[in-house]
Amino acid sequence: MQVEWWVSVIQAFVVINLVMATFAYLTLAERKVMARMQLRYGPNRAGPYGLLQPIADLLKLLHKESFVPTAAVDRLYLLGPFLAAFTALVTFSVIPYGPGWEVGGVYVPGVVADLDIALVLVFAIGSLGAYGFILGGWASDSKYALLGSMRTCAQLVSYEISLALSVIGVVLMAGTLSLTEIVAAQAGTWWFAAPQLVGLVVFLIAGTAETSRAPFDLPEAEQELVAGYHTEYGGMRFGLYSMSEYIHLISLSALCVTLFLGGWHGPGFDGPSWTGPIWFVAKLAVLLYLFIWMRTTLPRLRYDQLMRFGWKVLLPVAVLNAAVTGILVVWL
């Protein structure tokens, strides 16, 4: 159906703001959940149950001095965080969160941009995200930052391959690269998590490494590299990097929900059309909880263990999954 351009603009605006709000409260949720798992309360001073904590953090970051180190390359130094945040946010333009709706005679689609090549676009823009880190590290002109950013990018590039390969099984089964059609292929039947369980596990592990979450969060390990690529960043610019990491995590979880967990469909049945986004958010919340749980529980991997695992274990498993799925799809 033809979508008015101003509907898309309003939708994009709403989605971006919702994602930012989710990011803010994800930081709070993470701290509270981690705290409870460690038998303590999380932040509970700022507002009831700590609900105003993200706002307090934001105000703190805004008030900090925005400096540029003398030796840094100005324009690139400033471009790094923006690139990271931009590439993290763009993924949400193709994630379907509901069937379309007719609102006052205007058709509002369930996705901001319905593309034939949505999945390739997600990976393409995701691979551009590596530049945010390279630029941040290199433009800071500091050894820790450069080393940290090189390590981060090597990790990202290695696990990107397994990430892309793990979704090939889903693409083969759905027969399309369009995310709306992949969600439609899971309507009323088993979600792709069931036949593609190996793919789901590989996707989650590779996704944890892609977003530098524990146990793959060596780039953030203060004990190792001071603070990696964002050593020389302070105040709101550091806030932008932090935001881009969390939004990357949210977008990866949203992608996982879309590809493997049935998108906005309910389990086996579909309620009225406005329940679509509710199911989507519920599944997203479960996945985010899983990521927070992993962070609290698992110890960090050393860099060489990380790289060895990515290339020698995860990549062959992903390739095997793709090959076996291909054979079965053709023969069955």
Partner: protein, 176 residues
């Protein structure tokens, strides 16, 4: 309105493309050259989109801008951006010869284009929405162009093996 918008986007993308292209060959510091090339690849992706090649645009960003240039930047960060004087290649005679050759090439191409423009390049074929879609390209890759597909995979395998071979240092060689 739509035609005008397409022209505006085309101008912006083409200007960015040519500008970054000149920037790549002009910068002294190779790091900036590499960054300009990334801009060049992105603007080329926009041009591909205007030519109804959406899968190729995405593949361009994914493969070229996302992976090949990351490789480049890795090597550049490793080697340090040693700047060399930009237009200092070779003795002056060689330099003028190079410029003359490039200009001659350009003039030749423009002449050919001018001759062809009137007759053959005026009506592009009518294409459906499925032109340039991954399904259509995939179908061609496994039917008409299967040999090219398979040979490309072997080329990539050879390149991967070659990369590993070039990268391993033999124990006897003292390199540091």
């Amino acid at each position: 309105m739509a035609g005008f918008l397409v022209w505006v986007i085309w101008f912006a993308a083409a200007a960015a493309c040519l500008g970054t292209g000149v920037a790549v060959v002009s910068f002294a510091n190779p790091f900036y050259s590499a960054l300009s090339l990334i801009g060049n690849l992105a603007s080329l992706a926009v041009l591909y989109l205007l030519l109804s090649a959406e899968f190729l645009a995405a593949a361009q960003v994914l493969v070229y801008a996302g992976s090949v240039m990351v490789m480049f930047l890795f090597v550049l960060a490793y080697l340090g951006g040693r700047a060399d004087a930009p237009w200092a290649g070779g003795p002056p005679l060689l330099r003028t010869a190079a410029i003359v050759a490039a200009v001659a090439l350009l003039v030749e191409i423009v002449v050919v284009l001018g001759l062809a423009w009137g007759d053959n390049l005026s009506d592009p074929a009518e294409v459906t929405g499925a032109f340039g879609s991954p399904a259509a390209i995939g179908e061609l890759l496994v039917t008409d162009h299967l040999l090219a597909f398979e040979i490309t995979s072997i080329v990539l395998l050879v390149a991967a093996v070659g990369g590993v071979v070039l990268g391993t240092t033999r124990e006897k060689e003292a390199t540091e």
